[in-house]
């Protein structure tokens, strides 16, 4: 046997062994699996950490109580860094290794990308961090839902409040040049006009923009009574508010969901006083009415838990409820059945996390309340009743 033949056989053996397959791990069939592409690192990490903790806590509450009809919940997360390709890769990995029933997605981009896959699989019901209006379409996105109102509905709630407080007021929209930012602007313009409000300025800022002096100058031109920020987490809102106050403008500033967390708003320090916005949930420290779930959360976690925590917690609650209903009727856990079960929720009590009992007719929960920042107390206080959009 010469050296070449030996080499050939060696090579062949190596290649053959490399063709070995990665085995598929079969999950326990009795478990209900919640998968998640969670943005635990990256730009959105403050939200990701909260969401992660929220889902974890709810899962442990249910499991301690014996699961859902004896089926235990299992939560399988992966970090996505808020990047769509990483989220998709995580989805593929988790679904290949587990029999997933519910999934939490980290962004609008991910939800849209994975939609076709969800429709094909018909085995997963998905929600996520996105409140994009596009997703609120039961025909195009049949197996997805939003855990709150979509951005257009949020604007609707804000505009309604403005129209009630100051009819005929002048309103400005300040939003970021991204899909997130542009999402509700078109429709909201019409809503504002229908409510008799005047949209005097629509200011779009480039993403990651450092200097917004030109936009501030434009806002001074327009002199709005109210200005709604959307598409940001923090910057450049403090800049705008500071400069506006310096200029002597007494515009009232408002924001949508992602700018309304306590920690984010309080980072603005003094400027934050009076900052308003719409929030579908109660804040962690809210003890105005009886809220058994909120009390339980405060027991489990003595430190302040941010709003994304509540969102994750609530998502898990809705997943569990949907699973419970499907199993109670003895049906199979297909996406179709799970979505139908979700839509059967009428006047469902979230244990006080949302102030009123909820009904999920389409893909969203169009409920919210206006809160206002009180810097001296370091809290967001409610200034309106719970508004339910039809």
């Amino acid at each position: 046997m010469n050296i070449h033949t030996v080499k050939h056989w060696l090579a062949g053996a190596v290649v053959a062994s490399m063709l070995g397959a990665a085995g598929i791990v079969h999950a326990d069939e009795k478990e209900i699996v919640i998968g998640g592409s969670i943005p635990m690192s990256g730009v959105f990490s403050f939200a990701g950490i909260g969401i992660h903790a929220g889902i974890q806590d709810y899962v442990s509450i249910v499991n301690e109580a014996g699961g859902i009809d004896g089926h235990m919940l299992r939560y399988v997360p992966e970090d996505s860094g808020y990047k769509v390709d990483a989220s998709v890769a995580a989805f593929k990995k988790i679904t290949s290794q587990n029999d997933v029933d519910f999934y939490y997605g980290d962004s609008t981009g991910f939800s849209k990308t994975i939609n076709n896959e969800l429709n094909r699989m018909n085995s997963i019901l998905m929600s996520g961090a996105s409140f994009a209006s596009e997703l609120n379409d039961p025909e195009k996105y049949p197996y997805q839902f939003l855990v709150g109102p979509d951005y257009t509905e949020m604007f609707g709630i804000l505009l309604r409040h403005i129209a009630d407080e100051s009819p005929g007021a002048k309103v400005a929209f300040v939003y970021s040049d991204s899909e997130f930012g542009r999402d509700p602007i078109e429709t909201s313009r019409k809503t504002a006009e229908d409510l008799g409000l005047k949209v005097v300025a629509e200011l779009m800022t480039p993403p990651g923009s450092v200097d917004v002096s030109t936009e501030i100058a434009k806002m001074r031109r327009a002199r709005p009574d109210y200005a709604i920020f959307h598409g940001y987490i923090l910057a450049p809102i403090p800049e705008f508010i500071e400069q506006a106050r310096k200029m002597g403008m007494d515009t009232k500033f408002m924001g949508t969901f992602w700018t309304m967390d306590n920690s984010t708003v309080m980072q603005m320090k003094d400027v934050a006083d009076g900052f308003m916005g719409v929030m579908p949930y109660r804040y962690y420290y809210d003890d105005s009415e009886s809220a058994p779930m909120l009390e339980k959360i405060r027991e489990m976690r003595p430190d302040y838990q941010n709003v994304p925590y509540i969102q994750g917690f609530l998502s898990a609650m809705l997943y569990a409820e949907s699973a419970r209903r499907v199993l109670a009727e003895g049906k199979e856990m297909t996406a179709q059945n799970m979505k139908a079960a979700l839509n059967s929720l009428e006047n469902f009590d979230t244990g006080g996390l949302i102030g009123v009992p909820i009904t999920i007719r389409g893909n969203s929960i169009p409920v919210g309340r206006i809160y206002q920042a009180d810097v001296s107390q370091g809290k967001m206080l409610p200034v309106s009743d719970w508004i339910i959009l039809e």
Binding site: V15, S41, I49, G81, Y82, G109, N116, E134
Partner: protein, 346 residues
């Protein structure tokens, strides 16, 4: 160096594969590629398809940057052009898959010609910066040409349909993307056996000398941009059929840097380099996930995954440029040489 391969004709000399050993290895590779999808689950198939698309695109970038020496930071934008072309044509006239991919390549080729025009006036780094500018302008077009590109919401793409079958799983998609990628690689390999390819290499080495030798610089530089963009366009079209949704944010500047990293790590000016580099860089995020999971740090380790990924990418570029400028393909060849000469060490 292969021992005992005497060539008896020019044709034989030029051949891409010339010995029985090589044919045997190719056959094993072929079998492996065919058997692969049956042996692994959806996750690995997804990675394989993604890798194939990246390899095709990296090969295109290598033609421009590795072989012609024109550094381009706009490759992702070209892929975007290809992806949008596929989406728009499918939406407007429902062009079948293969003509659609060719059309995507063609449209991107035209874009490449346009972007290459400044190469008449500027070279080297200035050209690289011009490609950044082109990338930004294209991004602007994607975001704001609402009626055609759907603005920031983007476009959705129906699954590719071949012979009546919808390619909507990674398994099915693999059978389309693998042959196309192989064709692209074969095309690139052949390109560098023709005078066009040699002209590119001459331009890279010393473009003034090339001009003195009679190579019309502008024409060949534009051709290089064109061919490279064609590859990017086809890869972008495949991307569109794979992910089925494209938005302006799908093709950011960081993706161009991703591909540049891939060819630097793999080896510029080498087709094997494109393959190795693209495969390696596609696997890095997944491998990092595994490594970070193994390390004996607390559960907070997942929090650092994203920044660690960014750092690793940067360190890969710096590390390979300083320590192994010829890239992974040089490591591969060194190993190959070692085994060829074993046990007769030189």
């Amino acid at each position: 160096m292969r021992i005992g391969t005497a060539k008896f004709s020019y044709r034989h000399d030029e051949a891409l594969f010339d010995s029985r050993t090589q044919y045997a290895w190719l056959a094993i590779l072929g079998l492996g590629l065919v058997a692969f999808p049956f042996a692994v689950n959806e996750y690995w198939l997804y990675l394989a398809c993604l890798m194939a698309i990246n390899i095709g695109s990296a090969a295109g970038l290598n033609i421009l940057t590795g072989y012609t020496g024109l550094v381009s930071l706009g490759h992702a934008a070209f892929m975007g052009v290809g992806a949008y072309t596929v989406a728009v044509l499918q939406g407007a006239v429902d062009l079948p898959v293969l003509p659609n991919l060719l059309a995507a390549g063609a449209v991107t080729m035209v874009a490449g010609f346009i972007v290459g025009i400044p190469s008449l006036r500027v070279k080297g780094l200035y050209l690289a910066i011009a490609t950044i500018a082109a990338s930004m302008i294209l991004h602007f077009v994607f975001s704001n040409w609402q009626p055609v590109t759907g603005g920031t919401a983007g476009l959705m793409v129906n699954p590719a349909r071949i012979l009546g079958i919808d390619l909507d799983t990674s398994f099915r998609f693999y059978w389309m993307v693998m042959p196309i990628t192989l064709l692209m690689l074969l095309g690139a390999a052949n390109l560098f056996r023709t005078r066009i390819g040699r002209a590119f290499i001459a331009i890279r080495d010393r473009d003034i000398s090339a001009e003195v030798l009679g190579i019309p610089l502008l024409r060949y530089k534009l051709l290089s941009f064109g061919i490279s963009s064609f590859y990017a366009g086809v890869a972008g079209g495949l991307w569109a059929y794979f992910f089925r949704i494209i938005t302006p944010e799908s093709f950011p500047l960081s993706m161009s840097i991703f591909f540049l990293t891939a060819i630097i790590v793999g080896g510029m000016g080498s087709l094997l380099g494109s393959i190795l580099g693209a495969a390696f860089i596609t696997m890095v995020p997944e491998a990092l996930k595994l490594i970070v999971g193994w390390l004996p740090i607390s559960a907070d380790a997942t929090l650092i995954l994203s920044p660690v990924r960014t750092i690793v990418f940067g360190l890969l570029i710096i590390g390979f440029l300083i320590f192994e400028p010829l890239g992974l393909q040089e490591i591969w060849r060194r190993t190959q040489r070692f085994f060829h000469l074993w046990p007769f060490r030189s």
